[in-house]
Amino acid sequence: MTALLASRAAFLVAVVLLGLGLFVLIDDPNLLKKILGLNVFQTGIFLVYVAAAVRAGGRSPLVVEGGGPYVNPLPHVLILTAIVVGVSVTALAAALVARIHAERATVRADELRDGAGEVRDRE
């Protein structure tokens, strides 16, 4: 059991990151921390991909004659793309938080609730 857990350590860390990130994203009222939670959550997913590319004894895929075995480079490339997407999302989110701070003088989700002039609904 321990040996199995040790060989899957990266995936366990990924699960912890996913849970942690999602928890902060949902639970923390601070909008900036929500964004950080989102980043941690995404990092967990990146780790799943990178860990799936590992091969026992594998090295970087700079292919030479008789060089193998290599780790799978494709997941790395995918995650590079996903990181770029993540950066764009974070940038937009940070810009939105800056605007919220300028307009409402708060970065806490619980203080945004009592919107003046908003139509209140029976929810």
Partner: protein
């Protein structure tokens, strides 16, 4: 012929890149650039749809690599119909935004990014490429919501961003599982590998679950719908008409595409529990969306909650996994997109002309904005599902298929939600026509252009046309809905 496919994505990107440069010199260059691009895009989409209708499915592999390694773009009748939807809605929303706004160059740059992302979603056959397009259209959508000028726009956009990104990330996790299981990202190669791997493996089931939840967030199924009402309330009306029509609809298409071209009907055959869970989730969404819509006072929020219910109906059709159920789901998605777009445009006209935002404030406005009210009433009845508008036919096929396959709960839920939607849309139409409001005369309002009204009217006419041609539409779609795609 098939070389047209990449241009569907490239055509909006080129003007998108040139807009910031043009903006240095010209103040209001966004709308003309967007209008020209949307026209070109519509021509390309029409050409693609025509080729597909005449010669059958068409495909293109970027970079000339083998499809298994490269990024494959392909269009069949299913892709082509959603592609046309994106183009046409994009075009008539421009008629609204010319006067109705937003009018900044930035907003049209975002509009073009959205157009590129959604077109890419419609034609790509690479699951990771699909993720990238999902995020391109997502990012454009979040930023477009933030263009609203109220103080609730930025919080609504941020909430949309946070929830939407979690959805896209879950989709990414799901396709990661699929990649581990099959060793490819190409949809048809994946489907072939899955036959060898078996559809009952834990990886495959988990992948389906993550993909479904991820795209369910983008479709705003209950209980992950929370971004939608705020986003559609806070966005500028023209943008709401665009987003409400396209973003969730194309996510629904992406879900169907994966269901047809990757998982195939075998998945539900091997794992009956998955099909049952998907039906249950859809039924929950149908019911909860309708109940929440009844409780709304704000008209735009009511329309948003009605979408939650309507997407549940479409997914219920997909979950039945019968040719009739799938066709019903597609017709319902397309019809709902056309009608919701028109309804948001009509509500936008009423807001601009009179300042009314709640159902109560709509009382007696039919005399102030007669044409728009007529379109809104027609679209409301269409969304309820009254023939001959298209809203009826999608629901009809789904209920028929549900009854034939003994899924009584699905049939009952769709019928019950129809009754509930009659109550909330009926209330709206009743306020418009049968009650007189005591509205203080306000001279601040009144900036309504013919284009804004035309958007709602055209949507109503297209909904009528789609309804009358629904049998032919199903006939055209039938080959692309059976078994594995091209």
């Amino acid at each position: 012929m098939s070389e047209v496919l990449p241009w569907l994505v490239v055509a909006p990107v080129v003007p998108l890149a040139s807009l910031p440069i043009l903006a240095f010199r010209f103040d209001r260059v966004g709308w003309p650039v967007a209008a020209i691009t949307a026209t070109v895009h519509t021509a390309l989409a029409t050409w693609t749809a025509w080729t597909v209708a005449v010669d059958g499915p068409t495909r293109f592999v970027v970079g000339g690599l083998p499809a298994r390694l490269g990024i494959e773009l392909a269009a069949d009748a299913l892709s082509a119909s959603f592609l046309l939807l994106v183009s046409l809605v994009g075009l008539w929303v421009l008629a609204y935004t010319r006067r109705g706004g937003p009018r900044s160059n930035l907003s049209y740059a975002l509009y073009l990014a959205l157009l590129a992302g959604l077109s890419g979603l419609c034609i790509t056959r690479d699951v990771f490429n699909l993720y990238v397009f999902l995020e391109i259209s997502g990012l454009a959508g979040y930023a477009l919501v933030a263009l609203g000028d109220g103080r609730d726009a930025a919080p609504a956009a941020l909430r949309y961003l946070l929830v939407g990104t979690v959805g896209a990330s879950l989709y990414l996790l799901g396709i990661g599982y699929l990649y581990v299981a099959t060793g490819t990202l190409n949809m048809s190669a994946m489907a072939a590998e899955l036959v060898a791997v078996g559809h009952d493996g834990r990886l495959v089931v988990a992948a389906f679950a993550f993909v479904t939840v991820g795209l369910g967030v983008k479709m705003a199924l209950f209980p992950v719908h929370t971004w939608k009402p705020d986003a559609y309330r806070a966005a500028p009306a023209g943008i709401a008409a665009l987003l409400a029509a396209l973003v969730s609809t194309v996510a629904g298409y992406a879900f169907l595409r994966l269901l047809l071209s990757v998982f195939t009907a075998t998945l539900f055959g091997v794992n009956p529990l998955l099909g049952a869970s998907l039906r249950a989730a859809a039924v929950l969404s149908v019911g909860a969306g309708a109940v929440l819509a009844v409780r709304q006072r704000d008209v735009r929020r009511m329309l948003a909650y009605s979408s939650v219910s309507q997407f549940g109906v479409a997914v219920a059709g997909f979950a039945l996994a019968t040719p009739l159920g799938l066709a019903g789901g597609v017709v319902h998605l397309l019809g709902h997109a056309v009608m919701k777009s028109g309804a948001f445009a009509a509500v936008g006209v009423v807001e601009a002309a009179t300042g009314a935002r709640t159902v109560d404030e709509f009382a007696g406005l039919a005399t102030d904005v007669p044409v728009t009210s007529g379109a809104l009433a027609a679209l409301s009845f269409g969304l309820v599902g009254i023939p001959p508008l298209v809203g009826f036919f999608g629901k009809w096929y789904i209920v028929l298929s549900a009854v034939r396959s003994g899924a009584w709960i699905v049939a009952a839920a769709v019928l019950a939600s129809t009754l509930l939607s009659l109550s909330y849309f009926g209330r709206l139409v009743q306020r418009l026509y049968l009650e007189s409001g005591s509205r203080p005369a306000d001279t601040r309002y009144g900036a309504v252009s013919a284009g804004m009204v035309a958007t709602a009217v055209v949507a109503a006419l297209v909904a009528l046309g789609l309804g009358l041609a629904s049998a032919e539409l199903v006939e055209l779609l039938r080959p692309s809905l059976s078994g594995v795609g091209p």
